[in-house]
């Protein structure tokens, strides 16, 4: 058994459930009646091996090892019949988890197959420039939240706080920044987020302002456009602006 374990390629498992399914298949165990003692022993051998190799994802495996040992202990306890209630098998939860995971793992093979089939086909994708684009900042109308977050991450990475030596308690609130942006948008139809960054002298203010934009976006007080990913965010009045 030990030798067999060593021949397992440690990278081939996606997690503890994957390893358990492997052990069940290898030893032709019945998933509906798992021999807990045996599988716990095999599983622990694997976890110890993984520990020796300092696998960083060992945490999930250790957690499963603890669960297995708990189930094993509960199965050793004498069963007290409790009226007419059916006695629950301590393995039920684990069994359901395994069956659920197994369904998706098997579906993964279908996805893999579809991927292999589609791979050699290339879509005809036109060049991204559009000749009659008057306002080249409005190409990407459909800015996704994730795009905005990525852009923010990108912009703030390049943002340098001016070096100062004064120590002061900075006080800036979300509603203050919403008010601030409202004021700016009343005067100007469009605001550039990069332009705003230049006005601020602290990271905290930048972050709170960004949160204020997200809040206003949610309430449809503003709209956000972007010409391409990581490009400046353009903030304009939304449908409920000024309400």
């Amino acid at each position: 058994m030990k030798n067999q374990l060593h021949r397992i390629d440690l990278d081939m498992f996606e997690g503890p459930l994957d390893l358990l399914l492997f052990l069940i298949k290898r030893d032709e165990l019945n998933i509906y009646d798992i021999p807990i003692a045996q599988i716990t022993k095999d599983f622990l051998e694997y976890v110890n091996l993984a520990k020796e190799l300092k696998l960083y994802s060992a945490g999930d495996f250790v957690l499963m090892a603890a669960t297995l040992m708990k189930i094993k202990a509960r199965m050793l306890l004498p069963i007290e019949a409790n009226g007419d209630d059916e006695i629950e098998d301590p393995r039920t939860e684990l069994m359901n988890m395994l069956l659920e995971y197994k369904r998706y793992k098997e579906a993964t093979a279908t996805f893999s197959e579809m991927e292999r089939f589609e791979r050699p086909h290339y879509y005809h994708i036109p060049a991204t420039w559009s000749p009659q684009q008057e306002d080249n900042t409005a190409i990407l109308e459909d800015v996704k939240l994730y795009d905005i977050m990525l852009t923010f991450q990108y912009l703030i990475k390049n943002y340098e706080e001016p070096a100062t030596h004064s120590v002061a308690v900075e006080e800036v609130t979300l509603s203050e920044q919403v008010g601030f942006l409202n004021g700016l948008l009343q005067a100007k139809a469009k605001l550039s987020f990069a332009g705003l960054l230049e006005k601020f002298d602290s990271r905290l203010v930048v972050v709170v302002t960004f949160l204020a934009i997200l809040e206003m976006l949610r309430n449809r007080q503003v709209k956000v456009k972007q010409s391409k990913l990581f490009d400046d965010l353009l903030i304009s009045r939304g449908s409920t602006f000024g309400n």
Partner: protein, 194 residues
């Protein structure tokens, strides 16, 4: 065959085929029937895109083109034939398309069958942290964030995208084999469970 267009003008099938061909060349996303009719202008008589596509597709097939019209994500797009992959690869700096890892495929499978889902839903099924696969899938635009859960914590909800349908050559998520079907096929292979 002649189609009525805008009540007055008459469009002949050859003209229509050319229009559709032009749209297919220029469209940044699958050309849908609705979009097609928008492109034709405010027309009361809807021209059946499917029919024109069928004609065009048979032209392409007869004349032996290197591409064909694919029905994907609820619309139509032009894609190259598989046999030219080795040449097309040379156009890109990376050696063709990168395949998704097993972890990413598992995550994708869970999202596509259970959407919208939270990261927590995914992780409780997989039994492992799925942060990095989610990130990969978002970066490759196969998944998108669609709002938040109502419950406590207001966790982000993930869904598959149009790019997901394109990537796997699907017309809609309804085209995915049902999970039960996958089980049946495998059961036939094995003759028994597990």
């Amino acid at each position: 065959m002649i189609y009525l267009y805008q009540g007055v003008a008459l469009l002949e099938i050859n003209e229509l085929k050319q229009i559709v061909e032009a749209l297919l060349i220029a469209t940044p996303e699958p050309l849908t029937e609705a979009r097609f009719n928008t492109c034709l202008g405010d027309s009361n008589s809807k021209i059946p895109l499917q029919e024109v596509i069928r004609e065009l597709a048979s032209d392409y097939e007869k004349s032996g083109r290197a591409f064909f019209i694919k029905e994907v994500a609820g619309g139509y797009q032009i894609v190259t034939n598989a046999e030219f992959e080795s040449y097309i690869k040379g156009l890109f700096s990376k050696s063709g398309k990168l395949r998704l890892s097993q972890a990413a495929l598992e995550t994708l499978a869970i999202v596509s069958y259970r959407q919208p889902v939270t990261r927590n839903d995914i992780e409780s099924i997989r039994g492992v942290s799925s942060d990095s696969s989610l990130r990969t899938l978002l970066d490759r635009k196969l998944l998108e964030i669609r709002g938040r859960e109502d419950g406590p914590g207001r966790a982000l909800l993930y869904r598959t995208s149009t790019e997901f349908l394109q990537y796997f050559g699907l017309n809609s998520v309804k085209d995915l084999p049902r999970l039960k079907e996958v089980e049946d096929i495998l059961a036939e292979d094995d003759g028994e469970l597990v």
